[in-house]
Symmetry: C2
Subunit: 185 residues, 2 copies
């Protein structure tokens, strides 16, 4: 296991601020799932809130509406192929973690598992906004706990020493961008 | 002027899918403004909708609520310093375009000006959702027209040949990431 440390909640937006593609995990009863989600971003700093667009037809949607919680996992380039696979098949066809080669470990505050090999994690509780959910497939959630792999994120900063460690940004058709060079404007 | 071409509306989400930081422009009457906004993402494909978080205390918020429309401009690294400046001062202190060294040109469907030197533009009309606006500073908008600099985006794909051309992703404290290498997962 990597060295994982908690991220103070008011700093947790920094995990998502640069717009990486994510994996959303969910669980309810004995069912669990993972999906790729590019449409995830911060909504507020403190208490931290996030937005996620989750299609009505997905198993993830069913589990999140039943459980009222989920987790956002931030993959890096080393698991880009698994992230793409998680975005290309349905959890209704069998356990998608196994099918995609994604290992998990327990979250602290939610039942949804966290994806091993990711570099950041946000554990979230849905803020019920039925109109947004029904009309726009839009979920608002409060971040209950956040953590990061200290090899990639520490003291409020991402730092990617190797290409495989960088977070990823989905385009389309199986194509991503790596998060590139950091610079001061 | 660069070679700017319209992007078909159902493909316009591709301009934002990788999570770049944006400049939001607005205008009402003889007032106009520009602000930096990292919390902008797609919400739907067709008709295309977007989400943007816009703080209550900003002049941009006042102009958008008065006009019911705005534009999302996607800057590249060549104008990262101007983007940072647009995020660091208030339009209430005088014309921010001039103060930040940002030139503009007219939009097609909205009164808000578009920022020259950007590589993508989405002209948007607010979908009135008063509860989201009031409670969360969250705006939903429909994309009326989209365009891109064909040197950076064509046939539905971003392609950054030079470092200065790449889009940017805000971290904090004046620090950005460039959009990095494209790859197939």
């Amino acid at each position: 296991m990597k060295n994982i440390e908690s991220v103070p909640l008011p700093k947790s937006y920094l995990l998502l601020n640069h717009g990486p593609t994510t994996l959303i995990t969910s669980a309810h009863g004995d069912r669990r799932n993972v999906m790729a989600a590019a449409w995830v971003m911060p909504l507020d700093f403190d208490p931290p809130k996030v937005l996620a667009v989750i299609d009505k037809n997905t198993l993830t949607r069913e589990l999140i509406e039943a459980a009222g919680e989920f987790a956002i996992n931030i993959p890096n380039r080393a698991i880009a192929a698994q992230t793409l696979a998680a975005g290309s098949r349905s959890g209704r066809d069998g356990d998608k973690f196994a099918a995609c080669g994604l290992a998990t470990f327990p979250a602290r505050r939610v039942a949804a598992p966290l994806v091993a090999g990711c570099v950041g994690w946000l554990e979230c509780r849905v803020v019920a906004e039925p109109r947004n959910q029904q009309t726009y497939d839009l979920f608002i959630a409060e971040v209950l706990h956040a953590a990061a792999d200290t090899d990639a994120f520490s003291a409020g900063c991402w730092h990617f020493d190797a290409a495989a460690q960088a977070t990823i940004h989905y385009q389309a058709g199986g194509r991503f961008f790596s998060t590139g060079e950091g610079f001061d404007a």
